[in-house]
Every structure is written in structure tokens, then in C-alpha cells.
């Protein structure tokens, strides 16, 4: 660090480090400041390993497949990112999405696709908003509120459907699964939507006052409140908006698998959290972003895809994912405590 006369003393906590160490520190500083750098690096490494160990991993068809497989988790994870940024968590995100798919499936089976679509959206946003109310108005810890919601919604969806699944036949409802294709590569509308939403949310978080307030609330709710931010309103808006993402994920899910199955996507609740955490967002709130989540989602899918293809027992996939989560959270903790000390 150059010491221009205008710079106050003692900013870096010990400016007398050797130049080489300086470079290392700078690299670390970049990784910390840009939460997407770490996950991206991990993704590249994992991809490289798989492309060496399996012959099929790197072909374009498979890469396209990885993308298709990421879309639903990825869109759920966008909503999850919002909630984690305000130091919350949503254990029920995929269950809420599944509820929407079966509502859509059942109503569409009766013949009214437009009504089905609207009711699906209403169900998602309403349930997500109830989570928001539980967390803000009733001050329930998000973990408890959404855990309760998870069991209620899972059982509710089964009761509602009597555990049957609904085949989807409407082109509109299956739209997200189609899209321009050439050979093995499909660029589905669902993936376009995922990418579009990622950009949109990234803009909202980094370029608008609302986004700044989301980070402020996650970083320190009491400071945000003393600065005149309506903390509860911001948190509620985050949960409700997450509901919109869950609905869009439901639409994508019907495009990918045109069967509305009440027992579907059980692993996606945690997969979405995994994607967010591996993507570098902090479970303590206030730090991270959707670019990291995008990469985190790809990592989660790539691990499943690559390990299945390499013929490795799926239990190892789960171990691998678990290790990544612990590394990601450990990294976050390490730098937090490092800086606070």
C-alpha cells in the first residue's frame, strides 16, 4: 500500500508486509470482494477434472444438458439468495414451487390453463408472503417459520392432490422446456428466463436503492433501522419477491418435466441453499450476490452430472457437495472473524 500523505494511519492493520505477501493478500482481497471469483474457480477446476476422467463430459450436448438441469434450482436459488442476503433462509422454497405445479396441474386438467397459471402464481406469492409475515410481524426465526411451512406445504400438496400427479399437456405451460435447438444443444426459454432473471435481480440488487437496503438490512438490521430504513418492509418484500421466483421456477419445472408431481423436487430445497452458499453468499446476511449463485448452481449440477457419468456412487456426490458447502461457509467465517479480530 503506498503511503500518500493524505492517507490516514493504520488502515490495513500492519502495512509492513513483504511485496510477495502483498500479491497474495491482494488476490485474497479480490476473492473476498468479488464473491463470484472463488466459486468460478471451483467450477473451472471441477469441470477440468470431469473432462479428464470422463469422455462424454465436455461434449456440447452434455454441457447443454447441465444447463437444462440447472434451470429450476437456479431460479429457486435466486429467490433463496434474496432471503439469505437479509440473513434469512427458506427451507420451503422447492415445496412452495411444487405446490404451484400441482395447483397448475390440477386446474389445467379441468381445462382452464389461464386460470391455472394465475392460481399457481397466487399460491406461490401468498405462501412466500406468509413466510414474510411470520418473520417480520411475528418475529419467528426464518429457520423455524420456513421449516414449519415446509412440512405444511409438503403435506398440503399431497392432501390436495391425494398424492396423484398431473400430466401437463398445454403448450403454454410447457413453453419453458422448448426453445431454439440445433442438434443436441437446446437453448430453452427456461434457460433464457433464468439468465434474464439473474441479470434483472443483479441490477435490482446493485443499482437500486431497494437493493442497497437489502444489503443494509442483512448487514446490520439495527443500523439500517437507525438510518431510517423500514427493515420489516424490506424483509417482507424480499420474501414476497422470492415467491415470484418460485412461481417462475414452477413454470420452468413444468416445461422440463411435464408432470406435476407432489413428491417432486424434494432435494431442491437444500440444493438451492447449497447453490447460494457455494456461490459465496454469507448465511449471516449482507454479503454475496446472484452472480455467485448462478455459478453455485452450475457447480451443484455439474457435480451430480459428472459423478453420475463417471460412474461414481451418488452417495459420494452428496459427500462432495457437503464438503463444498462446508468449505464455502468456512471461508466466509474465516474472513469474517479475521477481519473483526
Amino acid at each position: 500500500m503506498n503511503s500518500s500523505p493524505n492517507v490516514g494511519p493504520d488502515l490495513t492493520g500492519g502495512g509492513a508486509s513483504a511485496p510477495r505477501e502483498e500479491g497474495w493478500r491482494q488476490a485474497v482481497a479480490i476473492a473476498v470482494a468479488q464473491p463470484v471469483a472463488g466459486p468460478l474457480f471451483a467450477l473451472v477446476v471441477i469441470k477440468a477434472v470431469f473432462s479428464l476422467t470422463t469422455t462424454t463430459f465436455l461434449n456440447v450436448g452434455n454441457l447443454s444438458l447441465i444447463f437444462q438441469q440447472s434451470v429450476v434450482i437456479g431460479t429457486l436459488a435466486l429467490g433463496q439468495t434474496l432471503i439469505i442476503l437479509v440473513a434469512g433462509i427458506d427451507l420451503a422454497c422447492a415445496a412452495i414451487m411444487v405446490l404451484a405445479t400441482v395447483v397448475i396441474g390440477s386446474v389445467a386438467t379441468e381445462g382452464n390453463v389461464a386460470l391455472a397459471f394465475v392460481l399457481g402464481a397466487v399460491a406461490c406469492v401468498a405462501v412466500a408472503a406468509i413466510n414474510g409475515i411470520a418473520v417480520t410481524r411475528f418475529r419467528l426465526p426464518p429457520f423455524i417459520a420456513t421449516l414449519g411451512m415446509l412440512t405444511i406445504i409438503t403435506a398440503g400438496a399431497r392432501l390436495y392432490t391425494n398424492s396423484r400427479s398431473y400430466p401437463i399437456s398445454s403448450d403454454w405451460l410447457m413453453l419453458m422446456g422448448s426453445g431454439p435447438a440445433s442438434g443436441l444443444v437446446t437453448f430453452s426459454y427456461g434457460s433464457m428466463l433464468w439468465i434474464g432473471l439473474t441479470f434483472l435481480l443483479s441490477y435490482a440488487l446493485t443499482q437500486t436503492a431497494w437493493g442497497t437496503h437489502v444489503y443494509a438490512v442483512g448487514s446490520s438490521p439495527s443500523a439500517a433501522r437507525l438510518n431510517g430504513i423500514y427493515v420489516d418492509r424490506v424483509i417482507f418484500s424480499v420474501y414476497a419477491l422470492a415467491g415470484v421466483f418460485y412461481f417462475l421456477a414452477a413454470w420452468q419445472a413444468l416445461g422440463r418435466t411435464p408432470i406435476a408431481d407432489p413428491s417432486g423436487y424434494q432435494a431442491a430445497n437444500l440444493d438451492s441453499i447449497t447453490a447460494v452458499v457455494i456461490g459465496g453468499s454469507s448465511l449471516f446476511g449482507g454479503r454475496g450476490g446472484v452472480a455467485g449463485t448462478f455459478v453455485g448452481t452450475l457447480i451443484v449440477t455439474v457435480l451430480k452430472n459428472g459423478l453420475t457419468q463417471a460412474g461414481i456412487d451418488s452417495l459420494y456426490q452428496q459427500i462432495g457437495t457437503g464438503i463444498l458447502v462446508i468449505l464455502a461457509v468456512g471461508w466466509d467465517q474465516y474472513f469474517r472473524s479475521g477481519r473483526k479480530a
Binding site: 442497497t212 448487514s219 446490520s220 439500517a224 437507525l226
Partner: protein, 266 residues
């Protein structure tokens, strides 16, 4: 003092936390263009008083007047909207955010034209420029306006909080121990800053434990003891050891001349 007008007044303010009586029918007054120091032992209830005055807490009892009109602040935002800025003892900075973001937190600037109007885009460049300018004007030295507050030292964080309050205050600036963590040079800067704020015509409430500093810059001194105001004195009339004696209860407040403007409530 006769030309001074009372801008802010508190009458019979009380606040309890369970069994703890943090404030017990405390009175307060603040005249325009003055620096009112508030002194008292730890736990005397000074912070509780200013939290009530600034909308951070709602009193159990008592009234707050601003320019002679009763006000009921339910949040710090409502106080800020009428021109009262506060630096809380716990600073209230968002540590994950940078200096410029903190200075503009809750009052972000949008880009002019369609980007701001339709896409609600923030004008980050403008906010950074203004923040840098302001910090420079205050003589606060930090490396970069884009530095996250968590990477700043305790003193620098305090400087950021003070800068924010002084930048936005239009009527009253309240500072709860703004120099507690500062070095000699930085303390000097904050004191100079407070004087400048006063010279701009704002009224300042300063909670401070350092008697020499208090006697240097305060126009009047509010002495707080056991959750209420013991008295208000003029530093040009009363000696520091007398203030300390009143604070601790060794000296009766009535034995020194009062500098109160408003008649004391019954």
C-alpha cells in the same frame, strides 16, 4: 443568551426497561445555534435521553417539543425528515457497505433522467463524488470512499458516522460520545467539525465524558444524574470540578447558578 430561541425541549421524559428505570422524569432543552454538552456517569441515562429525542425509542411518559410544537417520533426516520440527525453510541453504520453507501444510506440519489425515473438506477458516481467531497471538507482521511466500513478502524467508523450526521443535519445534530474511540488528532478534527456545524446555525447536542473538551466547546452543560437532569450550567461560570461534583452527587445542583432558559416544570 436572550436572543436564543429554544428549538428542542423535553418535559418529564421517562423510560423503563422492565425493572430498570433508565430515565425518570427528565427534562431537556436546547437553544438554536448552541452546543449543549450532556454529561453524567455511566448509566445515568444520557443515551436513553437522546434516543427518545431522536425517535430511536418512544418514551413511556413525557413530551418532546420541536420549535414549540409537540412531536411524536416513532422512528429515527421521522426525526431525520424534520432535520434532526443523530450519531448513536453504537454508531449505526452498515459494516458490509462502503463509506459512500453509508453516507447516503436511506437517502440514495437516483440518476437524473429516464434511468433514474424508469429504472430507478442509483447515481453511484455522484454519491461517491459528494461523499468524497464531504469527507475531504471535514478533513477525515480514509483511503477510499469505496472502502467497506468493516475494514475501517473504530475511530474511522466514528468519523464516518459523524460525517453522515453533519452532512444531513438541518436543525439539530445529536452526537453520543463521538470522540470516545478517537485519537488526539481525530478528536481535534471532530471538535472542530462540531464547532463548524454550530457556526452554520445548527444546534448540537454532544454527549461527552471528557471535561476539558466539554469546557472548550460547549455553550451550556446539561448535567444528568440518576435518570434525570440535575441542572444546566454555563461553563464560563462554573468550574469543571463543580460539574463533576454535581454529577456524582457530592454537590447540590442548587448551589451553582442555573443557565436554564425555560422555567422549570413543576
Amino acid at each position: 443568551m436572550s436572543d436564543k430561541r429554544i428549538v428542542m425541549q423535553g418535559i418529564g421524559l421517562s423510560k423503563r426497561f422492565g425493572h430498570v428505570v433508565a430515565m425518570d422524569h427528565a427534562d431537556f432543552e436546547l437553544a438554536s445555534g448552541e452546543i449543549m454538552a450532556v454529561v453524567g456517569d455511566n448509566g445515568a441515562g444520557k443515551s436513553t435521553l437522546i434516543r427518545v429525542l431522536s425517535g430511536a425509542s418512544v418514551p413511556d411518559e413525557g413530551k418532546v417539543f420541536l420549535d414549540g410544537e409537540e412531536v411524536h417520533f416513532r422512528s429515527p426516520l421521522e426525526a431525520r425528515l424534520v432535520g434532526i440527525e443523530t450519531v448513536y453510541q453504537e454508531l449505526a453504520v452498515a459494516t458490509e457497505m462502503d463509506v459512500a453507501q453509508n453516507l447516503f444510506l436511506g437517502r440514495e440519489l437516483r440518476k437524473p433522467g429516464w434511468a433514474g425515473r424508469w429504472f430507478r438506477q442509483l447515481d453511484k458516481a455522484e454519491m461517491r463524488a459528494q461523499a468524497a467531497e464531504h469527507m475531504q471538507a471535514l478533513g477525515i482521511r480514509i483511503q477510499s470512499i469505496r472502502q467497506k466500513v468493516e475494514t475501517l478502524s473504530g475511530g474511522q467508523r466514528q468519523a464516518v458516522a459523524v460525517a453522515r450526521a453533519s452532512a444531513w443535519g438541518r436543525k439539530v445534530v445529536i452526537l453520543d460520545e463521538p470522540t470516545a474511540a478517537l485519537g488526539v488528532r481525530e478528536t481535534r478534527q471532530v471538535l472542530d467539525l462540531i464547532l463548524r456545524v454550530r457556526d452554520h446555525g445548527l444546534a448540537v447536542v454532544l454527549i461527552c465524558h471528557n471535561m476539558p473538551d466539554v469546557f472548550e466547546i460547549a455553550d451550556r452543560i446539561h448535567i444528568h444524574r440518576l435518570g434525570r437532569r440535575a441542572t444546566v450550567v454555563d461553563p464560563k461560570v462554573v468550574k469543571p470540578n463543580q460539574v463533576v461534583a454535581i454529577m456524582t452527587g457530592a454537590l447540590d445542583a442548587a448551589s451553582v447558578p442555573s443557565a436554564l432558559l425555560a422555567p422549570v416544570a413543576a
